[in-house]
Homo-oligomer: 473 residues x 4
């Protein structure tokens, strides 16, 4: 890679003509690398063709010295410092962005960089690559600004290749077959995507919305039944029920029935765009588009998964068990189980004298609580509310989906029991799902509060549940 | 403006939601300002909401100190420095770029900044605003990268409003009426534009091309006659000839006749995009498009004006006259007139003993040389070649059109006598025009030589003419 | 032509493959004919390649004979007769319709046939050509059925070539220049056209509509002022007033102001489509389109010229003068002038004892009544109402514009004095124009009454004026 | 229906306004009818609202009488007769064609009529309905003329709903799943359709083409393998082989490999367009489109099924067996089996003394010949060539697929053994398929010969095989 990169950067060529061919050569060279060669290449690039350290130090010294020489001089040195700090590869990247297919190349390159950063353990390497990552993120943020994205509705009349991608990209509630897919883009559904001028035919973010007359309490009413459904009509459908006939796939929408939009799946398809906030804009654009189409619509809410809840719960249980083992935990149930919960766990007991926490851990891991779900409902609901509302990371919500919607200004609104009884739903979040509700006149304020003051706006249900975790009994 | 800007920047709000409305407010506020208010506003913005000077100095000191603490630390401080150097308004600008109409707003804002920089005399003010100008230029450079521009051919079947803009924007060879306009977009002509996703229906750069069978020697054969013309057919047409009948406007192109593309007008329509190189890309894209359309095409050349030649010449004459006045100039003709030129100027003499340089100045300013053009042809051609080939500014060609084409890698190829005999052409360049020729296999190399080594590649004709200026007699 | 046509029809070729090339040859052959050759060719075609007369007679006899042989037999012979009556050229024409450009060829061919029919005096020739004309009209009627026409709104953003055609085709209120044209397709105006799949870029019918807040009383408020005007604002503007500045051409429409659509010009551009009713459909489609766009719109009316009124009036005067000459007219004024009119004509008298009818004829022909318009207003209004309401041809309105709108179900609503004071308007209709108003809930019924019972629905104003013509004094 | 039809035709309304609403009412009324009600309705319509029989007879008499009264008179009566013969429902139908969705309504109406004609046994009823059928066919023929059809290529980037229809309509070689479908519209394949302006999103004819380097000898190489295949590469693949991996579905086409287009499936999707020749035009348009895309293409051929061959063969065998039974057939093998064939059938014998013809019938019906295919190959090939080349119906080829391609001017070119070994292929045609080859410079002439002189142009292979059937041994 060294020799190659020398041919790329060797000349001081500023001509855009030559740089274009250089950029193409760079892309082809990189594309031909395999496995660790890519990482090695990225490392060399970030180390040898970043900013010139000596110059940076030297200009920094000049700047410190310039303080006394008046504002105009100081500003000039500042400008020089700014220029000196630009890594040499930044110019290359911005040139590549101009080539056909270049933006997509950089998106994929950044995905590789993120992989590298996640896997390397050499601190200096990571530091170099992090700078490159930041440069790329800033470039991509500018290129993926909303004006250059176009909102597109996907229907059964959309191009097959794009519809197929919608299917391939759906990870939250996997699409089983083409009838299923047809339903997701059919009546009483809206599938919107952002596409970018530089990456035609490639949905960058996908948002699935159901049009209903009330905020859904479970996902099955949305993904297993075509057409219009009242939320009540579909309590706890068996997740494995056979495919519906598609007879009613051609049902005509009645706009007068539609009062509510439920965002039930949002997917960013490009790993290389991590940190470039697009989903938020997509939701806002979709809200406006729906308001224009349906004058009677007034409720907007997500129907969101709670990935990580069960893992978190098991970790917490293990922690307590460990504390107990080493005798640190005096009152065994403070954090997870309460006095009242213990009798109810009896039905799951394997043998006498079994530690209730052990029982609880076991049924959570095995999903055996499904044999008597109502018994553990209060317990699991309470713990989940705590997970969503109280557990933090750097002052923001620990759960990434919560963090996303709260940043957007949504309210943590309703926790739904038995809302996703698919295997996936049970394994991720003990079958629960949550609605983040968008009160349009409050999102801006909520967003501000959350971002600046770390305040989560939640409904009474959530607060009651969460508070009951910490109450003294 | 101070209070307003406080409401914009006062909060530390990072929420994209609130920033969007802030951006809109900013645009509306600025749009409502008039005259000097705008300049005052820009100054406040650049001074109060740039980078924090104290922090910059402080982090620079940290960086100097970090040298000893290992690469990883140094890189971290470097990253912090980079971040500290970002002016606060940069974030605002990039947010505005996301708003509908925001990119156009910033383009126009930058035009105002350029005006300010040209008119202010306060050094510190200029220093602040220059930083803001650079930030905007870099942002706009990224947004106007080629992938986001689309090449469009304008014909008589294009939308009326865009065709009208083509007419309005044409400054080099003004379009007189709709028949004239129809001809410029008709057979044997190609009018290509770049448009940008964020500024629909607005041509950003316009390139007019004539399709011929040889490189034109004058502009009249292109703009006054519709259809296909051999270059010889139109030597020195009277510039005021009445409009051609448009009977042959519907002539069908014969692709087999077309071997040559002559770029006879290129216009950047947005002052705020100054320094963002688009014309170069447009020419390259058009070359590719023409090669695909016409397999027999093999010659590419401009037919370019020489703005500034007469002004430069008069200035040079005045300088010599002044030197002569103060007795500094011993041999009177060294730089402008040669011994051989003097007798030929006799025909323009008003009275005896008139200084030949005075005579020359007078006929150049009055265009009176037209009464006997062949007499002064060698003299004017020689001086014009010198102007184009030898006169420099910061090592690059003084003439801006020359500089543009030479950067692109074109050759300074042929100076044409009586090539634009319109009043405009006479006043700007004594009726001469020049072809910059694009030899496709050499443009990259030529461009490099020019940009890195300041070498102008010129034809024998140009070099002979220019050298004859400096030869000892 | 005979030999050529033999090569066309000579074979009994049914193959669509060969017929296609035959059709093309036919089109090329015909296109190359000049002047009378075309007419001769059409005559030969219609005579030699129509239905076989002998066969027709023979099958007719069979049919008469088949009466006794039962229905099934009769129907079979009927079917044979139908087939025998199809002219041989009909098959050729329908094949030509399948060729690219073929439909346009047939439209133009029919225009030639109509010319021929208007100029020939040989009865048999006309009879043959009339059959051919009918065949073509029926074919074109089917091809120009509405499903194959597309409604298109023309704006300043429409393709230049089409906008130019809109200008070229406008005969009722000629368009003077591009500013004028921009206004006709600008705000508070709607220009709609029908285009046909087989004739791309060619408007077949053009309808100009003004959007106002009341039904216009004169044409000048529509065609001379851009933007929104209340009808009162523009009483009798001088027809020759200089061009308005186009500053307000970019005025934004305020949909809330718009309550009324005034159809002020409708043009069928293809003579060969005479008798194919398209204007009616266009008006109906436009009404629907406007209702969808402007919820507050509730008045629809034409602003129509009255071509032929002055010619008709002069003819009527001449007739009376002739009757008087030959002593047939006892009471001189019954039909045109009334007792009361005579004194008012005195102001226009050249000399004493001048016959009032002669005076009237003279001022009508010279437009001299303009020197004292109010004097003759009652007289001219009365006569014009009579012309529109009472004068008939085959029981329908004599005036073709009236007949068009009445067939569509409009009401003869208001006669407007000084509504078109251009030279054209004075010469055609003494400056008057008429509104045919469309009451949407009555058009169907009105149309029926007019078509079946020859009843013209008119307003009180019209009826009063018209009746006053016939009242005994 | 009688009362309803009276409201439709009762008035003599000629107004297009009222007719439009009448037409809509008609469509709604008919759509609401079920089962036999439709037939009854059609019968009433055809009987009561056809041409007026009495008038027809009367005008026919006038015409016979007019013979003596000169051409002009005769032509006038002829015109009147033509007019009288137009059934009243024809006007209604042409009005319905103008309504949105009207053309599709008429296409479906005609499908119902064709069903009626196939099922009724009352001669008079059929006669009436036949007239209505003819009227509709002629109207639809005009509306489906090529200028109003648009050629569209279907790819994986086409709208899903249309791609799905391509799958649903494919009857010749059924499409098993979406991978299979993706392949049929993928590289080295071309799927073209005609769509009609009045029936958007509805493919009217579908043509599947494979792009290869030689004329295929079997269907499996086309429909089971994606991408480019030499014909030899795929001799007799097992018909039930599992689905190919779709890894190579994204293979890029190499235009230089493509010399041959094989039309392997053509489908008319609308029964109501029976007799309206569209497939022929589609093939011709596709040929032109392919020639433009692939300069090296020079061979065009179908790969066609032979529906009806086995049925015909069994019928022929049964006939001979019957003749033998009743002693009419002296030499048992003349028509089907020859002396030489008999020993070869021995391997299929169940028991001694079994009649060879019985053996042959049995193995044909059971497909048991597959156990020793080479044994019967000469026999089946010979008989199939005879079926295609010699068996006629009204002088044209009995086999409808043969008739279609021969009308188009193709040559009966090559019979392929084991070309479609799917169950379907075995049952229809004992696994054989045939290539009809299009020699572009001869199609016109071939078509003419076939249509006018009933001559089938066939290759030597076909003629040799067919002649061997009739040769005396």
């Amino acid at each position: 890679p060294q020799e190659f990169l020398q041919t790329v950067f060797g000349s001081n060529d500023q001509s855009t003509l030559s740089i274009e061919s250089t950029g193409k050569r760079f892309c082809q060279y990189y594309a031909a690398l395999v496995g660790d060669e890519k990482l090695e290449f990225l490392l060399t690039l970030s180390k040898k063709y970043g900013a010139n350290q000596d110059s940076v130090v030297q200009v920094s010294q000049s700047l410190v010295a310039a303080q006394e020489r008046g504002e105009a001089i100081l500003l000039k040195v500042e400008e020089r410092l700014r220029h000196t700090l630009i890594p040499r590869y930044q110019h290359l990247f911005s040139q590549i962005g101009r080539i056909e297919g270049g933006v997509k190349f950089l998106v994929d390159l950044r995905a590789d960089i993120l992989t590298f950063m996640g896997s390397s353990t050499v601190e200096t390497d990571i530091a170099y690559v992090r700078t490159m990552n930041n440069v790329l993120r800033d470039l991509l943020s500018l290129w993926f600004s909303v004006g250059l994205l176009s909102l597109q509705r996907i229907t059964w009349e959309s191009p097959c290749d794009i519809v197929q991608k919608i299917s391939d990209y759906e990870a939250v509630h996997p699409i089983r077959n083409w009838s299923d897919l047809k339903r997701r883009v059919g009546p009483y559904r809206r599938c919107f995507v952002f596409t970018h001028t530089s990456m035609p035919r490639e949905p960058v973010v996908v948002l699935h919305t159901a049009l209903t007359n009330d905020i859904s309490t479970n996902i099955h009413s949305i993904i297993q039944k075509p057409g219009f459904r009242t939320p009540e009509a579909n309590i706890i459908p068996a997740p494995d029920e056979s495919d519906n006939t598609v007879d009613d796939l051609d049902e005509t929408e009645d706009p007068n029935k539609i009062t509510t939009a439920v965002f039930y799946s949002i997917t960013s398809t490009q790993r290389g765009l991590q940190g470039v906030d697009l989903g938020n804009y997509l939701i806002k654009k979709v809200v406006r588009s729906l308001q224009a189409e349906f004058p009677r619509i007034y409720q907007f809410s997500s129907m969101s998964p709670i990935p990580g809840f069960r893992d978190w719960l098991v970790t917490e249980i293990n922690r307590e068990l460990h504390l107990k083992d080493i005798g640190e935990l005096k009152e065994p149930w403070t954090n997870i189980l309460k006095e009242d919960d213990i009798p109810s766990l009896d039905v799951f007991k394997d043998h006498d004298n079994q530690d209730p926490l052990e029982i609880f851990k076991k049924i959570v891991q095995s999903n055996n609580w499904l044999t008597s779900p109502e018994t553990v409902k209060p317990l699991l609901m309470r713990l989940c509310a705590r997970y969503l509302y109280l557990e933090k990371r750097r002052n923001y919500a620990l759960n990434p989906v919560a963090n996303f919607h709260l940043q957007n200004g949504a309210v943590l609104w309703r926790l739904n029991w038995m809302a996703d009884t698919s295997v996936r739903g049970l394994v991720k979040s003990c079958g629960m799902m949550v609605n983040y509700r968008y009160f349009l006149d409050q999102t801006e304020e909520n967003s501000k509060k959350y971002l600046e003051e770390y305040v989560i706006v939640a409904s009474q249900q959530i607060m009651d549940l969460a508070n009951s975790c910490t109450e003294k009994e």
